[in-house]
Symmetry: C2
Subunit: 250 residues, 2 copies
């Protein structure tokens, strides 16, 4: 399983492609609906490129890293080559006509031009037969030290948890940034606090180490804070999460 085709040219395709190449896999071809994007990634990977699936070359494996709602369409066109997708939320059953199909879900937040320690990234594996499962586990272990088997039902729940822990957490940081900017305070002042919040997770459960006004059920401070938040959506968020914390610690 040395020769790989990538379908997709976004952040997941890019980070995966680069890490596979760096570990001596051969990226035969990049296919993306936008030819320019296919070319950009193909240049990085020393591979051919196309914007048309009918140009598909021969390979040992096709990795489909496109938007969730486009995976089905790609899956229907590829029947004879072993194939995986990289999505948290799309089930294995999307590959209904392929004898060697699977999921290769890297649990990470990928941005253009932000490096990732790929060896630490959990890769969640599922396949429609044992032999293919073994092959893609072996492939995953070449680029990550954190490979786990997981069925589609579990993977969907994991993806939801990832949205809370990464995207929603990042939105909390974005809201903080906005609040501080309006008061001429630098966001970096919060970094030691954020670092400690995350450090605690290495040894304790989040629920055990909660602090702050909602945990103390300090309704006076919560009221004062709500009065001081001008953005209506942020006020709603403050209220709802404070209620959630109070309920959790009842």
């Amino acid at each position: 399983m040395k020769n790989i085709i990538l379908i997709g040219s976004g952040n997941v395709a890019t980070h995966l492609g680069i890490n596979l190449k760096n570990n001596n896999f051969n990226i035969v071809q990049v296919i993306s609906s936008t030819l320019k994007n296919a070319e950009t990634l193909a240049t990085k990977l020393d591979s051919d490129f196309s914007n048309n699936i009918s140009d598909l070359k021969k390979a040992d494996l096709i990795i489909v890293a496109v938007s969730d709602n486009e995976i089905g369409n790609v899956a229907n066109q590829i029947i004879n080559t072993p194939i995986v997708h990289t999505s948290g939320s799309v089930g294995l059953e999307v590959f209904k006509n392929n004898n060697n199909a699977g999921v290769f879900y890297p649990l990470q937040t990928f941005n253009t031009n932000v490096e990732v320690a790929f060896k630490e990234v959990p890769i969640c594996i599922e396949a429609n037969n044992k032999d293919f499962e073994k092959e893609i586990i072996k492939l995953a272990q070449n680029i990550s030290e954190n490979v786990v088997k997981m069925d589609s039902k579990q993977r969907k729940q994991l993806h939801i948890a990832a949205v809370f822990s990464c995207n929603f957490t990042n939105q909390m940081f974005a809201i903080s940034d906005d609040i501080l900017e309006k008061s001429n305070i630098e966001f970096k002042l919060l970094l030691p606090l954020i670092k400690q919040t995350v450090n605690k997770l290495k040894t304790k459960k989040a629920i055990e180490v909660q602090t702050g006004p909602a945990k103390r059920k300090d309704l006076e401070i919560i009221k004062q804070h709500l009065n001081l938040i001008s953005n209506k959506k942020n006020k709603e968020i403050y209220k709802l999460i404070s209620e959630s914390i109070i309920k959790t610690h009842e």
Copy 2:
């Protein structure tokens, strides 16, 4: 300013007391309404203790680290000794009768038995006169490398931002933990993702590095996730923060 009295025996009083002692300050006395708690902390700090403010000894400075709603009561009883409180949300004006009063707000999440790298903790300073301000800045610099001046209005906004970035973020982790537990998935699988989410803040603004279904405005996945979240409050939180992310990136 070598001899210090602590009023309060909670997490802030404990962490501050220990760090002051470790930096050769003398904690004269610990006063706490619960005598047992006063004694526990006093034992760690080699100091006297009492549960009555009328027992107050002589000192260069009194640090009031009690609940926000009790600070006023303490402030009214102490007029002649220099005094600071440690709260993010209580204004300096609480000390209306004291000529040397200030705020000494350590921006950090403190738990019993969880160590803190105190040298990195920002300490936000405010005082009602320049000389006293200088003295408490000097004191703060003995235990932290991150001392900043900040007025009460800014400090209240900073405290709100801290609630979003620490307490609310931690609640996102607690919700994730709950979701994963129900699917027999270990929370530690999320740690590399969380680490990367926070690492990005060192070089990028949070708003610039958002990822995930809401950022992509993938309404299909959002709908699927909402259907898969059983807890009603968590469903509301998912919906509200997703809307917030969509609005932020419009």
